[in-house]
Structures are given as structure tokens and as C-alpha cells.
Symmetry: C2
Subunit: 189 residues, 2 copies
DNA sequence: TTGACATGTTATCAGTCGATAACTACCTTG
DNA sequence: CAAGGTAGTTATCGACTGATAACATGTCAA
């Protein structure tokens, strides 16, 4: 029989994973701690006790998402330490839409000082990591992050990524011009 | 004596303006219809009756913000129909942070099908307008929107715009490299 | 003036939410 | 086995929210 009780650390990780999924759908205020609790199969008061409050759970989820992106970037840079490599890695992150949408909810929720502080720190860390891994200058890093933000927004709007909405012409145009710079050989060549 | 009663249309406009401000701070679920009502100086049930529900009020606010951006772009294109001109206009929109943050909340809330549909329509309309006004190709328009999304996120995070947080090094770097392409002469030259 | 419509309010409700308190069950260590 | 810490639950609460209903007030045309 499987273990019936987990350590607090294990349960915490499980809850953060559930929080990423739940908060990505409905945002900070729109998601109840009970939503997260049920997704992880525990009771709602236990979530509160483990994290000390809803806000801390949300911030933990945002930081988890940011850490995941950092990890993906590090892996990509290990293969090839340039912006193209990281860009390709970010494209693959579109498959994990929850991460990106959660971050977007975090950005939008920055009016709350505590959340804003945490979110800015995550963003700054990613910016510095991109420059450090690729040696890009400020302008190059800025363009890279700009593309990333557009992809993040499009993914959250379900214009890109798995389970995307039926494409309108403008969506196809936008998606088609993505990573033109990555120089895929023309189809049928 | 000033009129004590407004027409429904006038009150509606007033409420949409209040909704933009209120929803920008706390998002769709985090803002109560009573918040909006008090900001506009009317009772909460009246807001519901005028708009039919909270969701319709939110969508009206998002569409208002998008329409404002379209208007700013049209004005800019009338002066000079190129992307630099529109980019400069968008920079000035940073002063109206509410608009951009509200849109960001809208993007993030796209998991709701009704809101998602409205938000995607606004985004598509802006994309088409940019191409139409400037004659930009898909790739140019994409880069323009990407920069816009980064600016929107930075403004929402209070990294840019009025009342921004005390700048960290990475913020100064990101802000400093913005619109390098707009070719300001080097300082002290 | 009067009546009818449009503008707006107060009262109220059923549902939801985050958080606390108190209790229970499990597991390890001596 | 006993005991104490760890993991987890149920019960409950006060506050808040969106929406409805009923009522009140201002405005304009005939």
C-alpha cells in the first residue's frame, strides 16, 4: 500500500504544482484555496496552514513557474549559449501554458505591493540570466524578452499552444511570422 | 444648478471609465461591482442593471481601453504613418497605465470563453490596424506588438511609467535600451 | 397638471471565501 | 509500549459579493 502521509515538504511541492494549474486558470483572486486543495487532494485549511495564507501560496506558485523557465533556459544554453537557442526553448514552453499564464496573472496583479515585489524579482532574475547565459547586450535582451512577452500573451489568449482556439487570419499571420529569424528551410525544399 | 440625473448613456460612459480604473487595480474577479459603483458615485445594483452583469461591465471596460489605443494610433498615423510614430504614441500611453494594465488583466482572464473571445477580437483589431496604418508586413507588425507587450508588462509591474517603483539596475538597463531604434543622438554629442 | 417613462435607491439574499480552532490519526524514538 | 511530534481533518465563522425585487424620485410630453 502506498504511503498515506507525505512529509510537509513533499505535500508542499504537490500543492505548488496544483496552485500553478489552478491560479493559471482564474488568477489570484479568482481562485479559491479550496480549488487548489481539492486539486491536490487535501483539505482547504491544511493549505492555509502549510503556506500561511493564500498570498504566500500564490507567490510560491509564481516563483516555481519562474524557476522552471530559468531551468529551461539553462538547459538550452548548455546546448548552445545564444538567444536563438533560448528562443527555441521558450517556444517549447508554450506547451506548458499554465506556467506562462500564471506569470501573466502575476504581472497583472503587481498592484499588490507584496506580489509586485516578488514578481519584479522573478522578472529581473530572468533578464539577468538571459544576458549572462548568452552574452547578449541590453538591446538584444530586450528584444528577446519582448518576443517572449508576446508569446506569453498569445499563449494565454489561447492563440498559440495546444488547445488553441480555431485560428483567425490575423492569428495565422502572427504565428506564421514567429521565429522567421530562426531560418527554417522553406517547406518542400 | 447642475443636472442631478444623467441619461443612461452618460452614466454608462462614466461607469466604463470607473471600471477601467477599478479593474486595472484588482482584475476581473478581484474587483467588486460595488468598487466600480462607488468610484462612479452610484449604487451597486444600478451598475448591474445598466450592464446586465459584472462580466459585461468588464468587457465594456476592456473594449473601451482597446478603442482608446486605436484612437491614439490613428492620431499618430495621421502625423506620420510609420511604426516609429506609433511606437512613440504607445510610449505616451504608458502615462495611462490603467488602460494597459486592464488589457493585461483581460489577456490573463482569457480562460473564460466569453472574455477570451472579446479580448482576442480587440487584439486582432489592433494588429490589423497597425498593419493598415503603417503598411508594415507581418514580421514588422509582430516585432512592434512584441515591444508593446513588453512595455505593457513593465508598466503593469510598475517598472515603467509614472509612480514607478525605485529602479533596480536591471530596470534601468531595460528602460535605457527602449527605443534605441528611434535614434536619439548620444547624450553630450 | 398629470401620467408615464427613465433614472436611481434601499433592502435583502444565497452563495462563497479565507482563516482559526479544535480534534484525530500516524509514525518514530527510546 | 508509551509518548511526543508530524500530518491531516472537521466544524465553524465573519466578511464579502453579485444579483433580484421592490420602491422612490426626477423629467418630459400632452
Amino acid at each position: 500500500m502506498t504511503r498515506t502521509r507525505l512529509t510537509a515538504a513533499e505535500r508542499g511541492e504537490q500543492l505548488v504544482a496544483a496552485a500553478v494549474k489552478a491560479f493559471a486558470v482564474s488568477g489570484y483572486t479568482g481562485t479559491s484555496t479550496d480549488d487548489v486543495a481539492r486539486l491536490a487532494g487535501v483539505s482547504q485549511p491544511y493549505v492555509i496552514r502549510l503556506f500561511g495564507g493564500k498570498q504566500r501560496l500564490f507567490i510560491a506558485a509564481v516563483e516555481h513557474a519562474a524557476a522552471r523557465i530559468e531551468q529551461v533556459f539553462r538547459d538550452a544554453a548548455e546546448r548552445s549559449p545564444d538567444l536563438d537557442s533560448l528562443g527555441q526553448a521558450y517556444d517549447e514552453l508554450l506547451a506548458e501554458r499554465d506556467l506562462l499564464t500564471l506569470l501573466l496573472h502575476g504581472f497583472a496583479a503587481s498592484a499588490d505591493p507584496t506580489i509586485g515585489g516578488a514578481v519584479r524579482e522573478c522578472f529581473g532574475r530572468i533578464y539577468r540570466l538571459v544576458r549572462e547565459l548568452t552574452g547578449a547586450d541590453a538591446e538584444e535582451a530586450r528584444d528577446f524578452l519582448a518576443s517572449g512577452m508576446l508569446l506569453t500573451v498569445l499563449a494565454s489568449m489561447q492563440v498559440l499552444g495546444p488547445g488553441a482556439v480555431p485560428p483567425e487570419p490575423w492569428m495565422a499571420e502572427l504565428a506564421g511570422s514567429i521565429h522567421k529569424s530562426c531560418a527554417e528551410p522553406e517547406p518542400g525544399g
